[in-house]
Amino acid sequence: MSRNGMGFWGETRQTARAVAAAMTVTLKNLFRKPVTVHYPDVVRPYPDRLRGILALIYDETGEEACIGCRLCEYVCPPRVIKVEMLKGEKRNYAKTFTLELYACEFCELCVQVCPTDAIIMLKTFDLATSDRRELLLDKDRLHALGTQFENSWATGTKLREMQRPPKAAKAEAAE
């Protein structure tokens, strides 16, 4: 009599059933199509809100969208963004804009706060390089990246719109 009270035949039957179940699973998998994607050759479709590499973009008029307001610099948790403002006549510009991508934690907060939708994320994450300095992105590199890769869905305006409290609640709060 075995310890679990099933007896020899009960245990044998249970073992046989378990063996059959396990081997059925692997056999089913054998005839299924592999899920592997040949990554560098074939790229899987990425989700719309992929949080990839950061980039700066140009606005509709073809001008730099960044106004150097430094909001992203203030909000950045690991403090990887450094911006200097350049005062202009009609609007301000960013004199310098550096982003230390090697320390970035891809939290998307800079995208959320950007009042002019200037900083966005890209649908790519190929960061591997042999030199860390290549991940210290300046303004030109960031602009170049923005034109090079597909942009992710999120922009500052869209994210803020999404998180706006509902209208009714707002009216109630006002009263």
């Binding site: 063996v19 396990a22 081997m23 699973v25 692997t26 056999l27 998998n29 054998l30 299924r32 199509k33 592999p34 899920v35 592997t36 040949h38």
Partner: protein, 325 residues
Amino acid sequence: MRDVIAAFILLNAVVLIVTYLTYVERKFAARMQSRIGPYRVGRPHGWLQPIADAIKLLIKEDIIPALADRPVYNLAPIVFLIPSLLIFATIPFAPGLGLADLNIGILFFLAVSSLEIVGLFMGGWGSNNKYALLSAMRGVNQIISYEVPFVLTALIPVVLAGSLQLSAIVEAQRGLWFVAYPIIGQLAFIAFVIATIASENRVPFDILEAESELVAGFRVEYSGMKFALIQLAEYTHMFGVSCLGALLFLGGWLGPGSAHPVVGAAWFLLKALFIFLLVTWVRWSFVRIRVDQILGLSWKVLLPATLILLMATGFWVALRSGHVA
């Protein structure tokens, strides 16, 4: 001289087949896990991968641990490999296509294939490494335990065929493969597969390698070509036992058009591949079981079961031939 040339050709063919068996196993395992396996080295489907692996291992640095028992350590892979290759001496690939069709072929096979354990223990002992030694002890323990039921299951076809000669055993299956014999055949085949898996230290009986606890078992200290030899020996042994299974239960070279030696050899290799894939299938379906469970299965279940089966087979054969009134 003719024999030497034949042996040379046979050894090279076996090594080549075994090299590609690793590829087959990797592809097969990958498909069971919804992967594609080796793909990059050689188009299509990475067919050059085994060659690339061999070249990589050849040019790797050969490290000998400072405290290793050098003669034993260096000799172990060779002692491990030679019995695995020797077992092919007696295997008939097709009628008349084999090195030496001994009239005690199966005894030779069983005796020589158990010698593998000496190399295994030498490797574990010579490495002077706790894990390696522990693994070698477990290996000896397990292989000796499973050698008994393995031999007893191998004897069932012998009793059915009435001969120890492998080619005669195959010829006796001309009417009906031994695996198709009612009840006796299937039970014996299942017992044979279980004993094969266990004596080849494959999952679920691989406490000897036990990736998570013993790193890689008795070969943990080996690198470069010595590691390659050990790996080659394991797969060669596996292939040899698959061949034995094909001869004993699946009718060897018998099949449509098997009168021609090439077709017969193709059937034989196909059947050996089937057993190999069966063992691989089991390997990727289960988790490792405990030492006491492994030994319990051997001594408490498999040994009595195969003994009873052997007795039943003998009784049945005697009944059929009319020796029992």
